[in-house]
């Protein structure tokens, strides 16, 4: 069966049942914070990030280090083939010499080109907006790597061992930022990069539910001028950037 229709059905059914069971007027605070782990991901939520690049220092790598640690990404000494789920891009304006920097990862687009081109449907968008690779179905053709405008995906070029139990990854499949889906599903409330950035006091990365107008990220999106990267492509990413 088409996973999209199955997801749509389950999402709608779960939402309808929840609405009927609760008294009218009660706010569904549970949905935004953490859904019950036994429930499937719901289209009522849309997870996203807001990155305030004015708070990104040039040499700072805290988000990258946290992501690598969380997901078990190790250097093999071959940087050209090593997977990078997030990286800091250093920017320089050619005429003025003005410098800036921003972390770039999978943008979790609403209309992901990687999902469109995947021949087996392994690259897919979950109901709550997170774009993932189902490594059970991925054949490693790398078409999604060709198709991504943000260079978000990496191909695993060697045998891997000692993966993190919550982050299975292996040779021959393609991977990218998962928005720490294993943390989100268990109700840990935020991604490793956002958590590390906050812990270090920079507060550049905000994670949250874009569909909830009362969430911190939604409030900041209304306050800060922000944009999507390559907005001309009309992919409607879940990651927004302020200050660049």
């Amino acid at each position: 069966m088409n996973p999209a229709t199955r997801r749509g059905f389950i999402g709608t059914a779960a939402a309808a049942l929840a609405g009927v069971a609760l008294a009218p007027g009660v706010r569904l605070i549970e949905f935004a914070a953490a859904r019950a782990p036994a429930e499937p991901a719901s289209a009522k939520l849309r997870w996203g990030l807001l990155i305030d690049t004015t708070k990104c220092a040039a040499g700072c790598n805290d988000c990258v280090k946290a992501c690598n640690e969380e997901n078990g990404l190790k250097s093999t000494g071959r940087p050209r083939t090593d997977a990078q789920w997030i990286r800091k891009i250093d920017l320089k304006e050619p005429k003025t010499g003005r410098q800036h920097s921003a972390p770039v990862m999978c943008q979790h687009c609403a209309h992901p080109p990687c999902v469109d081109v995947c021949p087996t449907g392994a690259s897919f968008k979950r109901a709550d907006g997170i774009v993932l690779v189902d490594r059970h179905t991925c054949i490693g053709c790398r078409y999604c790597v060709m198709a991504c405008p943000y260079k978000a995906r990496s191909f695993v070029h060697e045998n891997l061992t000692d993966q993190k139990p919550d982050v299975p990854r292996g040779k021959g499949c393609v991977e990218g930022c998962t928005l720490c889906v294993h943390r989100i599903d268990r109700g840990q409330g935020t991604t490793a990069c956002a958590e590390a950035c906050a812990k270090a006091g920079h507060e550049a990365i905000t994670f949250g539910d874009l569909n909830d107008p009362a969430s911190a990220i939604a409030r900041r999106l209304r306050e800060l001028p922000n944009r999507a990267l390559r907005a001309d492509l009309r992919l409607d990413p879940g990651v927004r950037y302020a200050g660049v």
């Binding site: 990286r87 469109d116 021949p119 490693g140 790398r142 060709m146 943000y150």
Partner: protein
């Protein structure tokens, strides 16, 4: 109308098995390359996270496009009613199938998870042009298989025209699909164009005729005789026409891209500043693969077998150069994530991506060519594919020598 007689290859023993053994050695090398890549992972190749499709894909896409075009000779006979091509039609069908198999084998062997081919054949995302192409490729084998059967079986020959038309239309869609694999991608500035589908169709006419000519000339020589001179000249003229059309598509593509200011960077890279890519474009695709073969074919040498052979070989080499520029040149140019800014990062953003093909990739590509050659070698020995004479209807007198005793 004279009856067309086709028969099997007459080479026996050493004369047959020695070339077959050489092809087999290449095939074994390709297999060894596949095992190396499968066991160790792709880090043993020159491909990385910047250039994910490398030399194997250059070979594979060239073979796939050429395979589709190799069917041309049969189509010209069945669909366009040029009966003088009919003697070579079955060989054309076999070459199409064999070369397509070689190209697809390279693609399958290069997958990160080739053990998941069954998954690829049972899970389809129909929005993906890649998935649609898989249907087109399997359908191609089926339709050309039926076409061959109808052509070679006396009782079915009346129906071969209808299947020939179906095969012709199918291969047009298939090749448009192959070009669209690239054309549909907005992420790469060298792609993102509706012209790529039709361009690949026109390229397939040229490369397919070139590859078919190389096979037909080689097979006849292997059989101890020479391909009919009038036929060679005719095919040479066709090759010149198709090569000119391919040049036209290339020119229009680049002129359009040049007109769009935002593509000036990628065009400057491909056409002027791209090092090996610029060299392969001008010297390979345009020069050796376009201008020179046309010049040869329209000169006096174009009437001789040697001239046509040289032109065909040049067009094929030019095709490989074109695929290199199209596939690898496009990946060498970085994705513009922050247009207007200079980017640099640990993930090689904002810089030209280097690529050095490795031996496993080269042998994998050659292995696919060897597979196609092996299939053709076995087919011409087992099936009656080589025409006794090519003068089926229109030519005044036969020019090929009489049949050799078996």
């Amino acid at each position: 109308m004279a009856t067309i007689v086709q028969r099997e290859l007459s080479a026996t023993a050493w004369r047959y098995y020695a070339p077959l053994a050489a092809i087999g050695a290449l095939l074994a090398a390709g297999f060894a390359a596949f095992i190396t890549m499968e066991v160790n992972g792709h880090h043993v190749t020159g491909m990385d996270n910047q250039i994910v499709w490398g030399l194997p894909h250059v070979f594979a896409v060239f073979l796939i496009v050429a395979a589709s075009g190799a069917l041309n000779v049969a189509s010209v006979a069945s669909v366009f009613g040029k009966l003088e091509y009919k003697p070579l039609a079955p060989l054309s069908g076999v070459v199409a199938i064999a070369v397509m198999a070689g190209g697809l084998a390279i693609l399958a062997a290069d997958l990160g998870r080739p053990d998941r081919l069954v998954v690829a054949m049972t899970h389809f995302n129909f929005k993906s042009i890649f998935a649609l192409n898989m249907f087109l490729y399997s359908g191609f084998f089926a339709i050309v298989g039926v076409y061959l059967w109808f052509m070679m079986e006396r009782r079915m020959q009346a129906l071969s025209g209808a299947v020939g038309l179906a095969a012709f239309l199918w291969r047009l869609i298939l090749t448009t699909g192959t070009g669209s694999i690239f054309g549909f991608l907005v992420a790469r500035e060298a792609y993102d164009s509706a012209l790529l589908g039709p361009s690949f169709v026109v390229y397939s006419f040229a490369y397919g005729t070139a590859v078919f000519l190389l096979v037909a000339l080689a097979a006849s020589r292997w059989d101890g005789r020479a391909l009919d001179e009038a036929m060679t000249r005719r095919l040479g003229r066709l090759l010149a026409l198709f090569t000119a059309a391919a040049l036209y598509m290339t020119v229009v593509f680049h002129l359009t891209k040049l007109y769009v200011t935002r593509y000036h960077g990628i065009e400057a890279f491909i056409l002027a500043e791209g090092g090996v890519h610029t060299l392969l474009f001008w010297a390979g695709q345009i020069g050796l693969g376009g201008v020179l073969p046309i010049a040869i074919l329209y000169s006096r040498a174009g009437g001789s077998r040697t001239g046509v052979l040289a032109a065909a070989a040049l067009v094929a080499l030019g095709g490989l150069a074109q695929m290199y520029v199209t596939i690898i040149g496009a990946q060498a140019w970085p994705q513009p994530i922050f247009p207007g800014w200079q980017e640099s990062s640990s993930f090689f953003d904002g810089e030209i991506h280097r690529y050095a093909p490795s031996l496993p990739e080269f042998f994998l590509g050659l292995g696919g060519v060897a597979l196609a050659a092996a299939l053709i070698a076995v087919a011409v020995k087992v099936l009656p594919l080589l025409p006794e004479s090519c003068t089926a209807s229109s030519s005044p007198q036969p020019t090929s020598p009489p049949a050799r005793p078996r």
